[in-house]
Amino acid sequence: MKSLYLKDGIVVDPANSKLDKKNLFIKNGRIDDVGSNEENVNNDTEIISLKGKYIVPGLIDLRCHVKQPGINFKESIDAVSKKALSGGFTSVLAMPSLSSMADNPETLNYVRETVLQKKHVKIYLSGCLTLNSRGEHLAPLGSLKEAGIVAVTDSPNSPQNNQIYCKAVEYASMFNLPIFDLPRDLSLSPDASAHESLMSLKMGLKGYPRMAEELFVQRAIMVSKYTKARIHLTSISSGGSVELIRKAKEDNIDITCDVTSNHLFNTESGVEEFDSFSKALPPFREEEDRQKLIEGILDNTIDAISSGHQPFNIDDKNQEYDKAPMGTLGLENAFLQSIAIVNENHGLGLIKVVQKMSYNPSRILGINNNTLNKNDVADFFIYDPNDNTTITRAIQGNEGCNLPFKEKVFNGKILNTYIKGDCLYKYRNDF
């Protein structure tokens, strides 16, 4: 059995908020030994000398839209997997809007049997909260749980009817399934295609006001308060939402939330050029929102950073602005982008980002914490802060093209990504 010995790396430990200079010995897909013990090394051991590079627990994405099977031209699972691994993700939570909606056990079984067997990023499945995510009729959550889902959500929709929402939350909590809610009151934003602001007014676009999000954030807080159910708000975008959630947490209400890295980085400025690539879901808002989201990350009001990865191809995006779909890619850039944001403001950014992108997501999903201790599954990647990475929008092939930027250079580089000790993404061999 082949084993792996990582020498002289720095292990990022998000659970204890520290960096540990230590060696890792990996065997049978798990961390077999931690420390400087070289006795385990034999002829079958691959030895990698990391010379001060970081060993980072694999990232877990809380919002990733995967389209296969069926709609291959959007983005195949192979392509999603490649992007995820190159971005340091070893697990993603697939939203239930697969090619057919994950509101029945048969679809989930089919997806598991046909798609999830391959050697690629780990895909956790979520199920619909309501049938077809229409917000009218509860989905069979118990059966979906038996079929293997780890969370329920109607993302990118949210049930518009309060009764259905309350009952769905109560019912889901019986199965101990975390509820993911992307808060959007659609009645306040019919046909909206941009953040509601002076900019949307100038451009003549129908706006999606902060209030449309904040009302539903407040709804989630109220429902959690009265049902004692845990609700995870995904992809918040408004500064006001951060304030509402901060207050709710002070009141010990069981609410968690995430923001996408793109929302930490972008504002509505692309609207001025009708740039459909910067049309995100929810929309990018103003600088004051962005600053409050970053504050929320720094003071831990915001628990996690997700990619919000939602692939569209060039023909989808090459339309009139209001007709082009909302959504951006994020798997490749999320980690490096988050590092840039957090480093900009604070020194020990790396640990913080890993907490937001690996440790906290695992706790929110109720799956095993991955902290690279003895016997943990060996999901991790190697990170070199002294190199840099250019990420470019691909506009050809069967993959999503909708990065919000054409090309960007980020500090830092993800070198290799391992799942169960197997190197599934290799930037280069020599270290």
Binding site: L198, M203, D322
Partner: protein
């Protein structure tokens, strides 16, 4: 006068400078002076193919562009949505590429999506003239409005102009706001608060929900059509209420004897304005329509002619 026009497309007034606006209007003035029967040969667009791509209903604007093109000896073809391949699922981009390949020298586009003219101008090489894109801009309308105002009031600098009605959904309002502000006018917006966002003050205009104050001492009032087919119930309760609160009445809230009245049409008589006021001496609504042809001739000339070095 030096030529200060170097644009090939006309997407919006927001992108124009005051001198570009004035240059275009001076060109229109020259065309108007040359008279209907004999267009100065320097303006001729003989041999040019202009395509009117109207993907939203329009009478006035489409016909004005047709008449303008014909007056300049250009060939003009009008395509309406129902007769275009867009009903067969063709994208706007593909439709326009095909029209370009068929030899169009310019496309006049009317479309319901904000930014559609901008979008098209990035996709294809021929000049695009925006004839209204959603609630974004309607530059030819604003230019004819300003042309009409300039004719009656002279320089717009310091003139008080009130725009009244549905500002929120109006491309005409947006284009006029940009243009009037660039030329130094003092602009007031009025109408129901649901259709006239307070936030617009940040653009440099005054917002007033008190009609009497809003039209007091105005040199001109521009009325906008109330789009009751889609806003009654959510944005204001009824036409009766609108008319009572914001309609210009012969016996009620009415402009001073000197105040000009403009309306881009079509008018809802008795709602936005009493018939007798709409037809009064101060009303320049019909001048707007005929100036619309002249101004669009100037636009077509400046965007399409190889030699647009007009001698003014």
């Amino acid at each position: 006068m030096k030529n200060s026009w170097n644009k090939r497309s006309l997407i919006g007034i927001k992108d124009l400078s005051a001198s570009e606006i004035n240059f275009l209007l001076d060109t229109a003035q020259k065309l108007k002076e040359s008279g209907k029967s004999k267009i100065d040969s320097q303006f001729s667009l003989k041999g040019k193919r202009i395509v009117n791509l109207f993907l939203e209903p329009s009478t006035r604007t489409r016909i004005a562009f047709e008449v303008a093109a014909k007056s300049l000896d250009a060939d003009i073809i009008s395509i309406a949505e129902k007769s275009s391949s867009l009903t067969k699922g063709e994208s706007l981009r593909d439709t326009a590429c095909n029209i370009q390949a068929l030899g169009a020298d310019a496309i006049v586009l009317r479309h319901s999506s904000p930014g559609s003219a901008h979008f098209l101008s990035k996709m294809i090489d021929v000049p695009i003239i925006n004839a209204g894109d959603g609630a974004h801009e309607h530059p030819s309308q604003a230019l004819l409005d300003i042309f009409t105002l300039r004719e009656k009031l002279g320089n717009l600098k310091g003139k008080k102009i009130t725009i009244l009605g549905d500002i929120l959904f109006s491309r005409v309002a947006r284009s006029n706001i940009w243009g009037m502000l660039k030329l130094g006018a003092e602009v007031t917006l009025s109408g129901p608060s649901t259709l006239v966002p307070q936030k617009m003050e940040e653009l440099g205009v005054t917002v007033s929900y008190d009609l009497e104050k809003a039209i007091d001492e105005a040199d001109a009032i521009m009325l906008l059509r109330i789009q009751h087919e889609r806003q009654t119930q959510t944005h204001f309760p009824s036409l009766e209420e609108y008319s009572r609160m914001f309609g210009l009445r012969k016996n009620g809230c009415k402009p001073s004897a000197k105040t000009l009245i403009l309306h881009p049409g079509p008018i809802n008589r008795g709602v936005e304005i009493d018939t007798s006021l709409a037809d009064s001496e101060n009303s320049v609504i019909i001048d707007q329509v005929s100036n619309g042809v002249i101004v669009r001739m100037a636009i077509l000339h400046l965007c399409c002619a190889e030699n647009n070095q007009v001698i003014l």
